[in-house]
Symmetry: C2
DNA sequence: CTGTTAGCGCGTTCAT
DNA sequence: ATGAACGCGCTAACAG
């Protein structure tokens, strides 16, 4: 910057003014400065700016994993909104480990980021009460925290699951299984609760929670569920991983779907409609969830609000009825029923653009 | 930091020394400093450190999209390696637009990041020749740049495609179509070239490149390909998007696979083995690609090397033969043939861990 | 072993 | 309309 000033024959301050678009610079000098900038390929040092201004124009996003399409799409949405605001995004993964998450949030504090969107890993989240975080805007996604101070974006997991399970019950199924991962996860608890509710209201007995982290495990679980005296006749996958494992198992075991076992899952798969049979799912508005979280965050950042009670946005789910549940819709069209919105409906429902490679 | 120093009754310099683990501090004072740090919840300001030390311990990753599992998995790998080195990752998307990419790279220069992994969007990449980038380590992924200065990680797109198409030819197919996106993309060009080679060597005539960006477009393309006088009997999808569109079309048009049309694709789908029929694909070592790129980058960063000719790593592909090509493998096992490695084989083949939600 | 000085690049404050 | 001085928080280089 000193170089630019010298070349333009002005003081550093004038250069600074030109860069910030301050009005109090004569056109002629501004021009000279601009020329000097081009000539020297000068790029202002954002680090120094941040140090000075105490805000880094950076937010952090912490997700468990990035190769999960749900998280990746959320991250994409957040990144897109951030770009619109001229912010950069530091993205890190917690690998679903609490300690990693803590280390990363600490690092973000040291980096003086302006805010954070986080999908909390299971574990004690009291650490966020520390005064260290009191000056940092935080929004949670997918899983809320106990502390009411933080904004959060959610879907109604239990209601969505209930809806799907009731649909299966409507097909006459009485013994329905629930496959999930990590019982300690908020979403899993809520979805299993929805499953139980649906079963109990129909006078049926809920099956125990079936843990299923790998395809092999799913094969075992499904085999056991079918080999017993009163075999299950329907299975619900609690998220896209579980559902994929479930499909794998049904395939390996050569189970007829939906004849022998009906199936549905939470989370739409991008290939759900080319599967045989086409998969019935509870669909989340993934992109909109990320978008809503980012909007909440930037609202706080721009207004510098640190409320004692954050907002909670609950986005609507949709039951996409295809064939795996036993329905015989025609091959072309998706039947779908919307779940009534639970709360402040948000998000302009921007379609995710197509991608290439 | 001044507060910490005062509380500990020492100078700021001593605090700094304690933080950097410098040996020249007596245990007793170090202890007092540590106590003060804890008491005040002091977190060093990385911004100031970076300003001072001229390196930000941050790398940037620029991918076209994040909701593409290929890119997301690469990003995950890079992020994981970065974390091991204590680096943060600023992740941004170019949305496959050259201008966006340029703006983002410029921003990264201003942020004084230490290096960058980039999957270049199509367009004129001469801008990277600018002196501005001469002090920034750059590695490309998936698509190389003309400038030989940058390290790059690739697969042998043409050989992989050739292998798959030859396999289809081996099944007796003579009229095979190729569906791709964005012809201007490096990968698409290379894959189409491989397809043409395979066709020509077998004395067959290569079909024109079929552009296919949406499921609807695929339906049209496939319908046309089947309605003509000499209908195609096999179709190859040039990446996971195209392949999914292709599957959609075949499904909608109720085409018998592989009876009426055999199919194969580039990129493994995570549900490829539960599709009916199970999909034959050319599999890329996605995670390893990202990992290799990150390793190259950190090697340069740590050694501060700015070579005039970068390294190029070509990772091996694998033809995963399932059923959609016409093979009748048993349902449980994957037959697979490895493509001989083309160049410096790398990467410890770390399995991608499982994920939950 | 510890403190002092200076400067990383910028923007705010106050003069001019 | 422009410039000089100071400080954001930290550390390298020198004292002592």
């Amino acid at each position: 910057m000193a170089d630019v000033a010298r070349l333009a024959g002005v003081g550093k301050m004038t250069v600074s003014r030109v860069l910030s678009g301050s009005a109090n610079v004569s056109d002629s000098t501004a021009d000279r400065v601009h020329r000097a900038i081009r000539l020297l390929n000068y790029q202002p040092n954002e680090l120094a700016r941040s140090l000075r201004s105490l805000h880094s124009k950076t937010i952090a996003v912490i997700v468990p994993y990035l190769y999960d399409s749900f998280f990746a799409t959320c991250a994409h949405a957040i990144s897109t909104v951030a770009k619109q605001h001229g912010y950069s995004v530091i993205l890190t993964t917690s690998d679903e480990e609490h300690e990693t998450e803590r280390r990363q949030t600490d690092l973000m504090v040291r980096r003086r980021i302006d805010g954070m969107v986080i999908i909390p890993a299971p574990g004690d989240d009291k650490y966020l009460q520390s005064e260290v975080y009191s000056r940092m805007h935080i929004v949670t996604l997918d899983r809320p925290l106990a502390d009411p101070r933080f904004d959060s974006v959610l879907v109604n997991n239990s209601a969505g699951t209930k809806m799907a399970v009731e649909h299966l019950i409507g097909h006459g199924h009485r013994r329905i299984g629930f496959l999930g991962v990590g019982r300690e996860l908020y979403t899993m608890k809520a979805r299993y609760a929805g499953y139980r509710q649906a079963m109990m209201r129909a006078g049926l007995t809920a099956e125990p929670y079936m843990e299923c982290h790998t395809p092999e495990q799913a094969v075992k679980q499904v085999r056991a569920a079918l080999d017993r005296e009163a075999p299950l006749t329907a299975l619900f996958g609690a998220n896209n991983l579980t559902t994929r494992c479930l499909l794998h198992a049904l395939n390996v075991l050569q189970v007829d779907v939906p004849g022998q076992v009906a199936t549905a899952g939470f989370d739409d798969l991008d290939v759900a409609d080319v599967l045989q049979p086409r998969l019935t799912v509870v669909r989340q508005p993934v992109y909109q969830i990320g978008e809503a979280a980012a909007n909440l965050l930037f609202r706080r950042i721009l207004r510098q609000e640190f409320p004692s009670t954050g907002r909670r946005i609950v986005l609507p789910l949709e039951l996409v009825i295809r064939c795996s549940c036993g329905c015989h819709t025609n091959n072309g069209l998706d039947g779908s029923r919307k779940l009534p919105e639970m709360s402040g409906g948000n998000s302009p429902a921007a379609g995710v653009p197509r991608r290439h490679r």
